[in-house]
Each structure stands twice: as structure tokens, then as C-alpha cells.
Amino acid sequence: MKVWKSLGERRGLVIKSRAEFDHELPVGESVRQISRRDFFRFSGLGFAAGLAISCKSRTVEKALPYLNAQEGVTPGIAQWYATTCGGCSAGCGVLARSRDGRPVKLEGNPEHPGNRGGLCAIGQAQTRGLYDGQRLKGPRSGGKACDWPALDAELSGAFEEARKRGGRVRVLAGSLAGPSLAAAAQAFLGTFKDGRLLRYDALSCAAIPAAYQRTHGVRLFPRIRLEEASVLLGVEADFLGTWVDPAGFTRAYASRRGPDNPRPMSRHLQAESGLSLTGSNADERFRLAPSEVQAFLEALAHPLGLGPVPQARTALLQAAERWAALLKEHAGEALVLCGANALPAQVLCARINHALGAEGRCLDLTAPSRQKEGDDEALGACIEDMASGRVDAVLLAGVNPLYDLPPAFAAAFHKVPLRVGMGLSLDESALACTHLAPDHHWLEGWRDAEPAAGLAAVGQPLINPLFQTREALESFLAWVGKPQQAQDFIQARWRRELHPKVAGAGSFEAFWHETLRKGFVAFEAPGKAPSFREPAPLPKAPVPAGPYELLLQGSVAMGDGAQAHNPWLQELPDPITKLTWGNALSLSPKTARALGLEQGDLVALAPEGLPERELPVVVQPGQDDRTLAVALGHGRGAGGEAGLGAGVNAFAWRGFQGGFLAPLPGAPRIRPLGRRVELATTQDHHHLEGRELVREMALAPYLRDPASARPHEEVGPSVYGEHPHGKHRWAMVIDLSKCTGCSGCVLGCMAENNIPVVGREEVARKREMHWLRIDRYYAGSEEEPQVFHQPMMCQQCDQAPCENVCPVLATVHSEEGLNQQAYNRCVGTRYCANNCPYKVRRFNWWEYPHDGEVERLALNPDVTVRSRGVMEKCSFCVQRLLAAKFAAKNEGRELRDGEALPACMQSCPAQAIVFGDMQDPGSRISRVLRDPRRFLVLGELGIGPAVSYLTRIRNADATEHRGGHHGA
């Protein structure tokens, strides 16, 4: 199996995207302007001054204890609180670690029935979003800062005026706004003659509830139970990356992936136009154009007796027929998910699922999901009302419609006389508002959520508000003249509405305390499954003319773009393109060749009738040839420095198609500009030449003979003797069958280990600092590649090549098998990085910014902040291992298996990582280390890495269906 990492490599040329080695030292322009002589003058002076000062100076440091002892607070000891993630509307349960009064790390709550311990990249990055000095620091009126009483007084007059004009008031909110916030908003809206709460989602799924309205007579979004699906077909649905509930779906999905689960491995089929994270994990994948989704679903429905064979190309019909047979064979445990926000497709998808018997088992209609409550049709009507001047006031509760809705919204918005923004930052919409009443960050305030019927969650504050902000809920209550603390309001609502529903909850106080401890409460939601009825036929959408079609994909790092101000997320490489700091136009290799374009070429792209925008080209294997794919969530115009200028806002290329938010249907124009740009990708370096770094096997032969999975190559001999090991010896195993490449671990590592952000230019220079990266490999053809995701961090080699070459013994072996890096001893020769075969060592080329007054609060006090000129790398989260050992020793007992766990393992939504003490024969890691699927990366070097991987198992016969795949 030939594995390749980029197209350049596949074609035998690794394109040096930049004249990186033109200069002996590839340093920045500012440094190069200084002459050599001046450099020596300044450094000599600096050295002497430093020496003189450091000799005798004594920094006087003050220590300020509490005036009054805080109950349960001991300085230096972390406290954990259960709360609910506000990063997106999925409502994952998190445990927040608070150190000395400030949250520094978020981890998935293992008890939470949704995410069950995992947390995605966006969730992990939330602490950095909290400590953002560019958030709104207080209320504003007419662009000028004011105080809350002044704002309230002014607004109550303005609301009074709106009442007189006709009282047509709209509150726009996302699905993130919890039921209590909605109740407060409704209380506020109730004081107007025509007050309405409208919800919309930037990454809209509104066609799904609308489809169920037609097929089942109820507007609902079924709760999807992927763990029940034995055959799973995704049609343009990136459920592992960006769709509805990525962390929860990944957990459920991974529970059926690989051969070692209690239940047999699922079969994952994916039909899609771009290569999504989900598609990259599929056992089988079929490429289609976005406009073929309807035809594909119709072809799938035909064998189920749901309509005629559609007009389509043969390859599509064949694939659909074959997969339909597979789904039928597993009726009752087969599921089709469609991600297209189009009513005809979703109605058909609902009918197919009904015919497959998915309802009840794979799709829960009695306790539906509440994660996507947006209603595009109502939103469209509201925009029309606004445009014709029939709205007197609009309040934006945590949404940014001027960024993520079609441009028509902005024009209509300005026709509304009173515009109140209640977001966190001075974003595109806030700039267009007349008044700003900034909300708390979710880690600063009280909130609640209801991810599904029968699952209510609460969010509690971890820190006093950093700025003069006020909870949106409290603002609504203040404006109706009933000011109340958010906590009291939420508690009262829970006492009234939820406590009676929970059987055996005891007194409300006990119930509330238990809820706060756990972060959520699950209860029986009495509901009856609505019955299916055949819907009336829908008019077909016109098939677009022209050679190309626009696909707007969600982005794993950016989500709906609300997090674009967060530099941690900007620097997270996209799991597929490995692009950071912005988006690009993805083209299939064939299309790129036809247009004469290569990776990094600039093009001007515009859907029909819209102005052109410049985008760099990414050549994307596995993409459909007619598809022009652009990631959403980039190109912010305001709301935080990090997001500015990073990419192009593709939300502007959407419109309402049949009432639902979708890409504009007109044929997009594409015009090469003849210029190139250097992409800040993490691809094409860390180059490991032609070795078997990832392994794959089909399920059937593995089940016949698991031992056949054992790698053939010998583990190389070592010229050195064994290291003596102490009480523990740590090891890690990563199951490539489970890892989806979601990158939650990358961000978890970043938050835990104070990893700096280096910025676009430095990433382009291949100087990103992530201790844990995910290598993405392709195998097979350019058209139908198989994709591998392989988390790669320091392998903690027993005979580490880095250790041998360090001239100052800054990197040495520990008796627990760790390859230690002592920052204070490192002199920065970078010899170790040069000698590392995995290229996982990171060098601090600069003093990276860590000292923003607010931003520094996100630092983990248990980990040293590294300075310029030293090497760093994954430590297996040694501070967490020590904390666990200390806890055990202080309690006078032995360390238990599973107590010491690195941040990456803790946050992995797929539970792909196993870590533990291999000297403990009963530990989970000792069992996994004996798995025949286990292999070492570069094992032949004989350096004894402590990290190993489990061969990926693909639930597809390697030879059986290859022929049918070459469509397009």
C-alpha cells in the first residue's frame, strides 16, 4: 500500500512552497534589517547589562493571602465544577478545572449521556475565548460607552416608543440560548403587542424539522443514536466533524468502530461531494455533486418501494442500489443521515428511514433532540418584515446575523429603528446596533440547556465576570421591570417545570444540589412517537446549469464562525486540508488540472451575481470534480483581531432556497489570477519517506484470524542496553480504528500545556508549536483515496535518539520511561529535533505572546511557560501523572489504573487512546499492548517507542466493490 501525504508527494515532487532556504537563517524581515555589527553591539551591551543586573537584584514579590478564608479553597489545589459547554448548541457536559479562582481547563464530563467524557476542539478552546481582552467591556449606546443604569433608562424609553409605534419586536437567538433565557426573552416579548422569539442556526438544519412536520405531523429533530446503527449511510452529513453534535456523535460512532467492542463493528457508507472528516472515516465512499443528493436519495429509495428510478448517471444508480440492498438487509439497525438543508431531500430521507425501520431504535422521535432549533422559514419572513419597515425593534441574543446570514439581512436590519446587540464582542452585527448590552461569557454566568427532551443541563459560573457585562437573561428581566438574578430565575424555573418531572428527586434543594454536582439531570420524558404518514409530493429543485457547483462546508475548527476570534482555533489545522488561519477553495485534482491550477494559486471566485472574492486553491483528493468547496466560518470582519483577514466569509454566498439557507444556486464563476500565495498548512513537512507508518486491514480476514494482523517487520535491535525502570513505566496505545481525526486532543493538549500560538506566517514557516499533531495520509488513487488519521506526539522512546545528542543533558530518560525535557537546561542547539525520527520536537523561535493582561489567565499554573530559545515537546502530561501519584501517596494507597491520564486521552471523544502503566500486568494498557493489531511507527529503528498504534480495521471488502466507485 503506497501511502502519500500530499499530491506533490504522490507525483514525486515535493514542492517547496517557499524559498525557505534562501537564507542561511530563515529569520523574519525585521531581524534581517539589522547589520551584523549592530547585532554584536547590542547583544554585547545586553549581555553585560543582564549580568550586572541579575547579580544583585532581588525581585521583591508580594504575597497576598485572602482576608477571609474561603470555604473549600486552598491556594494551589484545583477544584472541579460540572457545567455545560457553551461552545456550540450541542450542549456537551463539561467538568471545568478551576485553579485559584479561574477556570484553566475544560474536560468532558464522563457521566453526561451526550458526550460521555469527550470534548471537541471548540469546547477545549473555550477558556481562551473567556480570557479575551477584546471582548466588549461594558454597555454602549450609540457607539459610546455608558453604564448599565443609563443604558436601561435609555432603552426603556426606546422600548416604550416601540410599543407606541406598534410593538413589533423580534428577538433573534441561536439554538445555544437555553430554555431559561428563552423564557426570559418571552417574558420581555410578552410586554409588546407583537413580540416574537426567532431562532436560527448559522449551520442550519432547519429542513429536518420541516420534513418531519410533513412526514409525522410534528416539527421535531429526531435524536440520533449512532451506537444503534449497524449500517450507517451519511449523505453530505459531516456528523463527526461539524454537524449538530460532533462530540456526542463521535462517541456513539466510535463505540461501534473496530473489532474489539461489545457489539459488532458498524459499516459506514458515505456519499458526499467534498471530502469531509466524516467521509474520511467511511468504510466506503461515493463521490457525487451537491445537486445529485436528491437523485441519490431517490435511487436509494427506489428499491425500498418509495418511488421511481431517477434520471442519473449509471455509477450513482449502481452505488445507490448496492447500498440500498445493504441497508435493507440490516433493516431495523440501518440509518441514513442527510446533511443537505433542502426540504425535498430531508423528506425523502425521513421516508427512507421510516421504511428501514430506523425510527424507535436509531432515531428517537419520542425524546427528540433540541440541539438545532433554528427555523429558516420564520427567519426569512422576519427579514422580509424588517425590509419593509414592519419591525420596530430587533434584539440579537448571542447571534451575529450580519456575518452569517445572506447580505439581504444587513440591508433589512438597518431599516429597524432600534437595534440592540447582546453578544460578547464588537462583531459585525454589534457594529450595526444602536445599543449594546453585552452578555457574560458562558463560563462567567448561569445558564441552562436542554440538548434533548428528558435531558436538562445547567451551566454555573466559574469566575466573576471579567468585564462590566450582564447576563442576557438578566437584561431581559431588567427591561420588563422585574430585575432578578439569573441564578434565581433559572432555579425558579427548574423548581416549577423540571423538579416535578423527575421521579424520586426528593426535595428541590437536594435535587438542585445534585444537578449542580453532576451538571445535568436525565429524566423520563413522557412522549408518544408521532405516526408516519405519506407526505404530499414536493416540487423538485432546479438542477443547476454550468460546469461547477458551490459546496459550503462546515469547518471543524471554526464551527459557525462565532469562535473565529479565538487564536487557538485559528491555528488548529483543518483535519483534512491541514490549513490554518483561513479558508481556501478546494478543487479535485482533475478539476485543478483542467483549470491549470495548483495548490496555492489564487483565484477569484463568485457565485452568480455577487462580487468576486480572492481565495487560494487547495487541491483536494477525493473531492467530486464538479464541486467547488469553501469552508464556512472564516473571513470575519470584526469581533476580534485573530479572526480578521483570515479567509473569506462564505456565509455571504448563501441565500434562501425554497425557504432554507443554502448556497446560491447560480453557476459560480472561477477566474485564475495568475498569482500565488503561501498557504499556512502543516502539510508536506514532517516528511517520513516511504515507510509503513499506518496499517490497515479489512474486517473479515481479521475476524478469521486476528493473529494475521501482527506486523511482519521485525522490531529493530538496539545498540544500547535496557534502561532501569522504577515503579511505573508509562505507555500509550492509539486505536486507528477509533480515531476519527477530530482534533479535540490537539486543543486539549494546547490548553493543558500552555502551548503558544505562533501566527500565520510562522505556521507557513513550519514552526507551529503543537505538541500533538494529527498526520493525515492518503492511500490509493487521487479520486478515491483512503484516508488515515494518525495522532503523532513524542513517542517517548526508550532508546531516544534525541537524548544521545543533547550536549547539555537537557533531555534525558526518566525511570518511568519518559523522555524528559528540562527547559531551564536547554541551550537551544536543536540537535535533538534534528535527530528525532518523528519530528515531534518544537523549538521556541520567538518569545511567543503569553503576557496579555487577560489572556495570560488561561495559562495552566502547573506547567512552565517556555521562553525563547528552548526546545519543548509532549511530556505525556507529566504534571497530571504527578498530580495523580501525589493524590494516591497522600492518601497512603497505590495508584489505580486509569487515574493518571494525559489531557489528550481524557478529551478524546472517540476514546481511541489508552494510557497506563505497562508494569502493572492487570492494567488496561497491558492488555491492549498484547493486541495483535499493535504496531510501532518506525519500529525497525530499534528505539523502543512507548507509543504504539492499533491497525485500522475497515469494514469493507478490499476488492469487492472497487469497480463501482469510479463515478463522475
Binding site: 549580568l51 514579590e61 537546561r825 506547567v863
Partner: protein
Amino acid sequence: MNVRTVLLAGAVALLASLTIFALSVDLKLLGDNSGYKPAQPIAYSHALHAGELRMDCLFCHTGAEKGRHAGIPPASTCMKCHEVVVNRAGTKPGVSDPSPEIARLRQAVQSGQPIAWVRVHRLPAHVQFPHSRHVNAGVPCQACHGEVQGMERVEQARPLNMGECLACHRAENQKQQQAGRAPGAPTDCTACHH
């Protein structure tokens, strides 16, 4: 040579001579702060509390057996004794101690301004020292902090450098090994540097 170079060279020479002068006054190694004895905002006497009155260190430094920091007690801890239980001047419980130092303490509590003690013992930022492991392993506080119970004003008694840490850890491990037990004091880099 232009004027700028001459000025630069002069400045370097001046600083170098200052350095040599400074080193000639005190020959302690860089970073050795032993003997540091700053004045504190309140002239709190460890000699009185820990020495004469034989109060246990952990009575006030409650974090020492739980976590990383031993901690400086909050003013409320001081006031528990000084306002409620007893005081030196012999006034009845609940009646204020007339001492000016106690007045400062009381003023801090009343004004809501925490007392800004001057930190005496300070390890470099790249060292992580867990008090709890040492206290729970039976290391007396005096091993590192000196005879604090005799100090009117706290002074850093020892250099607290890495050599001292390692000497103690190695001696401890040797002792354990001689007694036939597994050595428990780590000497790995990452035990303190991470």
C-alpha cells in the same frame, strides 16, 4: 571608529566593571537568596508564635499537607485568636489587643485590603515544589526553612538550590535502599521541572 561605537564600548566597559565590583562585594552564586530577611508590613514574630507559644506550623500554613503551596494564612485566621481567644496584653477575649501590630492587622480586616506580605522563599518559575509530598513524607519544615521558631523576622536560611534538593533526595533514597525498601524520592528532571 565612529562616536557611536566608542559610546557603546564605553558603556560595555562600565557595566562590566560594575559587575566585577558587585561580585567582589558578595561572592554568593547567582540566584542564591539565602540570608534574605525583608521587613514585613506587620512585624509578625515566628519566635513568639512557633517558638514561645509552640504553635504547630500547620496550624496556620494549612495548605502544606494538602497541596503545592503551604500558604500564608488569611487575616481571618489571625483574628480568630486575636479577637476571640486570647491575646498577649492580657485583655479579655473580644477586647482589642492594644499592640500597634495587631492594630494593623485589624485595620486590614476592617478596610478589606489584604495584607501584602513580602515573599521570602521563592523558587524559580521553572521549579514546581509540592509541599504536601514533603510534609506527608515526614520532612520537617525546618529542613528547608531553618529554625523558623527562633526567628523574630523570617529569613531565608538556606540557598534552596537544586544541589540541596538532590543531596537530600539521594540521601533519602540511600537510606531507603539500606532499609530494603524501594527508593521513594524521585531524582528525575520532570519530578520538579515540567
